[in-house]
Symmetry: C2
């Protein structure tokens, strides 16, 4: 019996991973490793293998475990894995998947392969999958399972439980049970728990909760997932434009969507496009491609700083020591901007801040920026005065005060501005904010220097 317990003090004995075993090529050892590992471990190791090696351990798994492991993998990894398997195995896996998982996998496939595999499905599974694929990408309709069991308000508990025993086995979940009227419109919901704990002759209508959350098929996936998280739901019924029940989104799929969205936001915040697949199984070319366009944008923004410095060339000619503090000034401004930008982008993502809070946010961040700039300016004064004289120290300190305020203001308002025009707030990434703050910070610095030094 395998029973993995997550422990507070992990084993200090180093365990041999699947990659090492595959190096050795000893199928017997691989078999033994697979037997002692649990499906989550196997799925984790599969992702870290080079794509051409993944089929080997997968073919050694028994049929049931193979399906379990397969269901835990990212659609992008599933697709690559299928390429290394025999056609009959591929067809079998494809047939046995849940319709919503199958729809997501289909999106990853070359159109020809997808068409062929869909054509090979049993009629019922094909119909379910085609329906899902008919909804827009990133919609709740794509994410939902159409295999939902609904109850009627007039049923007794016994009748409802009978219905579950009859048709509940193929449903995605029976823990959250939508209740519909005779036109399939959603009128309530109850948990399986309430059904199990109730007296046998109680009516579903008496037990059900009429304040039931739901989402339309065309609602955004991320918003549906966030509703599941915020309202602590196990599943969210999905309805069509006429309020008729068409499917259900479960909490595990919601968690996956939220993790993907967070990964996207993190990539954007770092100034790169999301990879949309596990890092180690992404080719270097794809990694480079996700970064190069943004780097070119930052490079072009960087040329603004060259021009700013060229404009102030005479000041630099006269007082070369001014150049010493350029990286310090723009670095500090960039850090302050980064702090504000990441705070506000995250607050927007989790719904703590909304568009209409722009004024409040700007005021809070400007105040914070002034305070931080004052502290940093005061701290920097003495060392700079000792190094380069009091006048230079005064220039740098005053600049720090102003640029920190400016950076906090730019860093906090631009994500909100991006959201207002319908863009992802996270495109206002730290490197982009830094580039913008660099140029304006330099102008402030040299204007102050000119005024103080009279050059």
């Amino acid at each position: 019996m395998t029973r993995p317990t997550l422990s507070g003090t992990p084993d200090s004995v180093p365990t041999v991973g699947l990659p090492d075993l595959l190096e050795s090529g000893d199928l017997d050892l691989i078999d033994r490793w697979l037997a002692q590992a649990d499906v989550v471990e196997i799925a984790d190791e599969m992702v870290r293998l080079p794509r051409e090696q993944r089929a080997v351990p997968f073919r050694l798994l028994g049929k049931d475990r193979a399906l379990e492991v397969f269901e835990l993998l990212d659609p992008s990894v599933q697709q690559e894995l299928l390429e290394g398997l025999r056609e009959t195995n591929v067809r079998q896996l494809f047939e046995e998947m849940d319709p919503d998982d199958r729809a997501r996998l289909t999106e990853e496939m070359p159109a020809k392969v997808a068409t062929r595999l869909l054509a090979g499905l049993s009629a019922n599974e094909r119909r379910l999958t085609s329906t899902l694929l008919g909804y827009p990408e990133d919609s709740a309709g794509r994410l939902m399972s159409p295999e939902v069991v609904s109850l009627r308000a007039a049923m007794t508990v016994v009748q409802a439980l009978d219905r579950l025993r009859r048709i509940g086995r193929s449903a995605e979940t029976i823990y959250a049970l939508p209740v519909t009227d005779d036109r399939r419109r959603l009128v309530g919901a109850l948990g399986l728990r309430d059904l199990v704990l109730a007296e046998p002759d109680t009516l579903v209508g008496e037990l059900m909760d009429t304040e039931v959350y739901s989402a339309r098929v065309d609602a955004d996936q991320e918003e549906a997932a966030r509703l599941i998280r915020e309202a602590d739901l196990l599943a969210l019924p999905i309805v069509d434009t006429e309020d008729r029940l068409v499917g259900i989104v479960t909490v595990d799929d919601a968690m996956e969507v939220l993790e993907e969205e967070d990964t996207e936001d993190v990539a954007r915040a770092g100034g790169a496009e999301p990879l949309r697949r596990p890092y180690l199984s992404t080719s270097i070319v794809q990694v480079g491609r996700s970064r190069v366009l943004w780097l070119i944008v930052f490079l072009i923004a960087g040329f603004i700083t060259v021009n700013v410095l060229a404009v102030f060339r005479s000041a630099l000619d006269d007082v070369v020591v001014l150049a010493f503090f350029v990286p310090l000034v723009i670095g500090t401004a960039g850090s302050t901007g980064a702090q504000s930008a990441t705070t506000i982008t995250r607050a927007l993502a989790v719904g703590e801040v909304r568009l209409e809070d722009l004024g409040r946010v700007a005021l809070r961040e400007a105040t914070t920026g002034i305070a931080l700039g004052a502290i940093l300016g005061a701290l920097a004064f003495v060392p700079i005065a000792l190094l380069s004289g009091a006048d230079i120290a005064a220039i740098v300190s005053a600049t720090l005060l102003l640029v920190c305020t400016l950076a906090a203001l730019i860093g906090s308002t631009l994500p909100l501005a991006a959201k207002r025009v319908g863009a992802d707030p996270a495109v206002m990434s730290v490197p982009l904010i830094t580039a913008l703050v660099d140029a304006s910070g330099l102008v402030v610095y040299f204007l102050i220097a000119r005024a103080v030094l009279g050059i």
Copy 2:
């Protein structure tokens, strides 16, 4: 009947929010707003209110809805809200909370208040909460609910369902049912679904899954939550050091932990300490405090660049145009470093990359850095040559190639290094990587300039 449907095309009619209504002071309007809103909306609006105003709408809610809204709030917000309520209301809310939520709220309270409220609890609730508070912070023990219903392998389905009807109402969940032996040791688990769909006289032992995931009370909360996500569980049984069942962690609590951890990582990546509470309900002083220490670290790191430039003063004296490209060079290096650092930090957080992958990661990132540096160097050459001559252009292009490689290497390996010494990889924030890359980039730049220009 309130039935909020998440729609694909949100209403264009602007709705009046709770903050505006509170401004107006019209209790009747507030009451009507509360009646048409659902509990998630109310909780969302509560968070955005100034803390001294929150008690007003809360007191207008009926007892049941008040508890529902309260349970959706962050512990930090719950604690502030309690300060504005009457002692009897506070005691009642505190008594009716789940023990795990109550334990989390207690952590937020001043010790005196916590002691007083705990003393006022009924004996059973007090015992449950004290047990949880005995486990280390951030452990699975703190997160779990001790109210878990377990079954025995020798029970029939009918006996198991009877047991649920008897004691299932107070349990945190009955959807995942751990099975224990006569010494309370975990031997299996089954879902309520399997129980409901099975024949009445089947034994639990035949239905249960013996490959059951579990975590020890002292396991890390985040790891337990991640296991729930990866294995698509509804709940994770928690055991003590002797493998005896002591509680259960549910998927909604796991989602909350993962969202908090992600928010923490984002804050750190942006170079600030996490706020641990909703942004708009954090005071400006607390926001400033979360940022100032890191800014001082970055300022000190920035002083290294001042010294680097002072060392190369003669080069700047001779060729002042070299100063023009300093922000461009370090900005580009910083962006490349930011991309690598955020990618690797996230891959570590979601478990796609582990410590032992250091060599592979470094090789991949160095290769990517070389490719990106070559592209940027090539792109920058012509404009710089036109602006400042071919020799300066050659210097900057060569520098870009080298610093991009260096930055990708530093940005990717430092998070892994932080993890190896037991620190949070996210402390290798973008601003810190930038500061480190700035100084080394400048050295590279001036060494190349010296060599090319012979100065």
